[in-house]
Symmetry: D2
Subunit: 334 residues, 4 copies
Amino acid sequence: MEQAGIVGHRGYSGAELVRILERHPGVEPVLLEHREEHHAAPRIRRAQGPKQLPCTPEAVEAARLSVVFLATPPEVSMELAPGMLAAGAKVIDLSGAFRLRTSEAYSRWYKEPHTQPALLAEAVYGLPEYCRERIRPARLISNPGCYPTAANLAIRPLVEAGVADRAVGIICDAKSGVSGAGRKPSLKTSFCEVTENFSAYSILHHRHVAEVLLVSGLEEREFSFTAQLIPIDRGILETIYFRSDKVKSAEELLDLYEARYAGEPFVRLYHPGQQPDLRGVARTNFCDIGVTFDAATGRGVVVSAIDNLVKGAAGQAVQNMNLALGFAETEGLL
Amino acid sequence: MEQAGIVGHRGYSGAELVRILERHPGVEPVLLEHREEHHAAPRIRRAQGPKQLPCTPEAVEAARLSVVFLATPPEVSMELAPGMLAAGAKVIDLSGAFRLRTSEAYSRWYKEPHTQPALLAEAVYGLPEYCRERIRPARLISNPGCYPTAANLAIRPLVEAGVADRAVGIICDAKSGVSGAGRKPSLKTSFCEVTENFSAYSILHHRHVAEVLLVSGLEEREFSFTAQLIPIDRGILETIYFRSDKVKSAEELLDLYEARYAGEPFVRLYHPGQQPDLRGVARTNFCDIGVTFDAATGRGVVVSAIDNLVKGAAGQAVQNMNLALGFAETEGLL
Amino acid sequence: MEQAGIVGHRGYSGAELVRILERHPGVEPVLLEHREEHHAAPRIRRAQGPKQLPCTPEAVEAARLSVVFLATPPEVSMELAPGMLAAGAKVIDLSGAFRLRTSEAYSRWYKEPHTQPALLAEAVYGLPEYCRERIRPARLISNPGCYPTAANLAIRPLVEAGVADRAVGIICDAKSGVSGAGRKPSLKTSFCEVTENFSAYSILHHRHVAEVLLVSGLEEREFSFTAQLIPIDRGILETIYFRSDKVKSAEELLDLYEARYAGEPFVRLYHPGQQPDLRGVARTNFCDIGVTFDAATGRGVVVSAIDNLVKGAAGQAVQNMNLALGFAETEGLL
Amino acid sequence: MEQAGIVGHRGYSGAELVRILERHPGVEPVLLEHREEHHAAPRIRRAQGPKQLPCTPEAVEAARLSVVFLATPPEVSMELAPGMLAAGAKVIDLSGAFRLRTSEAYSRWYKEPHTQPALLAEAVYGLPEYCRERIRPARLISNPGCYPTAANLAIRPLVEAGVADRAVGIICDAKSGVSGAGRKPSLKTSFCEVTENFSAYSILHHRHVAEVLLVSGLEEREFSFTAQLIPIDRGILETIYFRSDKVKSAEELLDLYEARYAGEPFVRLYHPGQQPDLRGVARTNFCDIGVTFDAATGRGVVVSAIDNLVKGAAGQAVQNMNLALGFAETEGLL
């Protein structure tokens, strides 16, 4: 039985990681206590939670953790990663700290300097559908962002196949449940501000744009992205617009996705006329994709749906762990 | 005191009409009972509702109603409109029956024949910001659809000013609260199917596309439209994407909207960096518009928000009534 | 035109006060800026909000405000009230600072000392249906709590008429929307913690119990109260249980309420078999009451519903202002 | 591998049954097609659902189904049960058809005659915590109602121990998510009627009262019950009020529950001061119980929470199946 440490297990992604690992037959979760916190009083009698350890390289080394998940803000991930790696654990980071390729890109999009440029160069981007073989041997895996996961799985086949008219560009209109904003209380995520409401934010300038460009192969001027907040707990749905004079029908478009994702356990395609919804992916590691194409106008729409806390965070992190530790890729995830 | 009949007052738009007219100082609402229905038992003691009349031309004529609102499906509106007009009432129709210009267009988008082609030719489209002077003397006013109202108020200034690159086209990603689907129970609008969910429907082929093309001046191949269901009661927010090499900044874009909508009582513009949300327009007749523009890529985004039952239906209908009966345009609506 | 100051206008009750007063024909709202705050950037172009003044007795006196509303925490209300009274304004306090009769009672239920015992003695409890004549001449009006308003309007008629079996006692199971907890961000009121959830808090020991006992006339051992959080924005519904061998039917019970509330503009009674719901009172100043009685078992249930921000806070405050300034009691509230 | 038929697999309880059984290591679900329905178009490509069979005794016998779940209305359950039993399957009925003991009781509470009085006499009530040994050998198991499950697990220990003052009686204020009303579209469960709303129904006369009396041992005059609709998908929380001069503290009360439920895998108790919520039981087969007691007034409150579709329906049905087929009681449920 391998042991997996989780830093940030009180956040929504971290708590989801604990839940998934508790069902994983080959791994036992260990809570790493990053900071002194107000510990909530125990609630349920006789309930026994996971093992706990201090969040130090010494403790990680002594306990021989195989992997440490960092479900922490980027600056904390940059601070903790070197020690955990030195302690012999593989590190899977759920923050944005190691997703871009250069310190410059990081500074531009994250508005703060990168403190671990060497690790940035070493980190492997953890989107298994496109980077599987590099993930297996990696020491440091950078788990993709939630918006980019849904976007890249939908867009990259269009770009790879040269189907989309890049002069016209691709539009990604993204909608996310509120858990994507994290568990820290703020007015923006207060119930009374969110319920019966809907709004857009970070229009054209969301930091996740950098990750979409990097993976999809699009240029900046070829891509527009808007993030929007839906009054639900979890889920991301992205509506992606493109134009093409290369494909002739939704069926032809679907064949292209079928060819690309044949054998992929976590990408599901919808029949023409059918569309994914968030309920269909909730609490699963699936990315569901549906396509529409109007031959008369050459206009196409791809809808891509994930659970932001699973395929968009904790589930994909476990998928990466499975690859890195040699488990079946779907272990604990179906 | 003028009297205004409402057919379909049990539906969401009709009930909203009754509420607005009850506060209107110059008009008294009269419920027209279109069909035998299971009458709900009276609930509140000593409560007195609006006056009721049978839904017949004779009753309308005898009671000298100045106007009749049809908050009914298109086929019912086509059936009722001629009699109400003959009875001397102006007619404001909230259905799609009289929004397009020809029987052919109607058949194509509504998938059924039009039974009143003569009235179709006579009907005036009731978007006051663009058709005010034709609305005043009209006998038959066709109240705009909810999606097209938000879309056209945002898109037409871009088209009129020649700012948007029409070869690239304009994308409208629309999201609506559930009341837009009407009050008739269906699985699609059941609470358990909608809550904690989000989905797209009628992608590229929604019947409201025809209305947007007609008013905005866009060609079919220049426009993509997707409708989506948000788990909220009321509100429409549309995120509209375009490209331009004519404007240089969000400020310049806003000046264009300011010029177009100066003096318009129900269009509000947001400062650059600020965005409308649905809460800001709920239960109001406002259309709120915010713009973003990225000069480096030439990409722009316009966000347009309305309450689908007010500016998208009942409120705009009363705005049209005010014009047609000679009241101040904002009477009962601020 | 009288002027009314509002301290705490950024909170949910305070903002509701501003909205109501903007529609009041005889009063103009003035925002009193209690503290240096991060001022939000202005959002809407050319929008003009209410007049603003510093929150000082000097400014209040110079501007000759007729009344100052304190939509502030109890400790702030105790701090501000004396100065505002000295400046010649009537004060309507929406906090719990002046609702109980003695410093001792206040310390017991609010867990902190009362700093203005003299004002506590002077304050008049602002439940118009029971204290109307004392409210009219009052300088300092203590606006009732949200839970107690719904509870007392339902319970006191039972106690006054000697109908309820007091040995068995009365149970009040209360449910509230989230806005009742105020606008300050906290984990408890975060969207992801509240949505798709429901929970009880302050079981048997809520501080509002003191107010219910005081007004209803019940003894502590005769009353159980539980507060619960519903995932909605606004509204309180209370389900109240009692036993009686004095009444024989729901009709008889309703007659008792009818007699008590004849002529009350803001209490509405439901026919037997009909029940109030929160939608029916949302954004209104009504308290809706429905009753059920089972003669075979002598068991009765009264359901009482209000909008916690209107009849439970801002609306009732304006009702009190109307009484204190000599307006019609319903002015601005129907 | 045993095979389990499910009739009514399109309803919310039936669909939950399929989901649970798909994870059960010893049982394979088989969909029994009860009636010609509009079959939804297949949505996901290459997806393979469970096996399907006609809903006939012949098919059930030929396929040697070990058990058939009836997630159907009572009248359909009465119609199908005899044939399924004759075909050699055990039957677990999720409707109310076989929950009461006599035809007379059934007619009184369900307002229609019982057509299978012999089976009514044979049926075993499937609340494992109280009827475990009778469930194991049973041919026909009547799965408890959702409200009664939460009520009886909380109330019966109080009655058994003689702790509650029965002259005062016990009040159960119950709140349920909307899925409890089933999947059939109706105005009452339409999104726009339910969201931002809350209401009570069947006050004092809900048909589930009969089941609570039967299992808890209370008399009709000792019990008041109100059902209420929360705007959430799933979950039941019941707040239960009693008076006692026998217990002295919450701790003492908890000891009583601990003693009763020691070793019960699906009943969890909360520490004093802590309360269950619906999120804690969502998608689990747990019943969570928290207690409060005020020694000064002798008043106690028990909060009981379940997922209405799991412990309140499909999960408990699988728990019963595990007992009846000889699996570990928790198989597929943790």
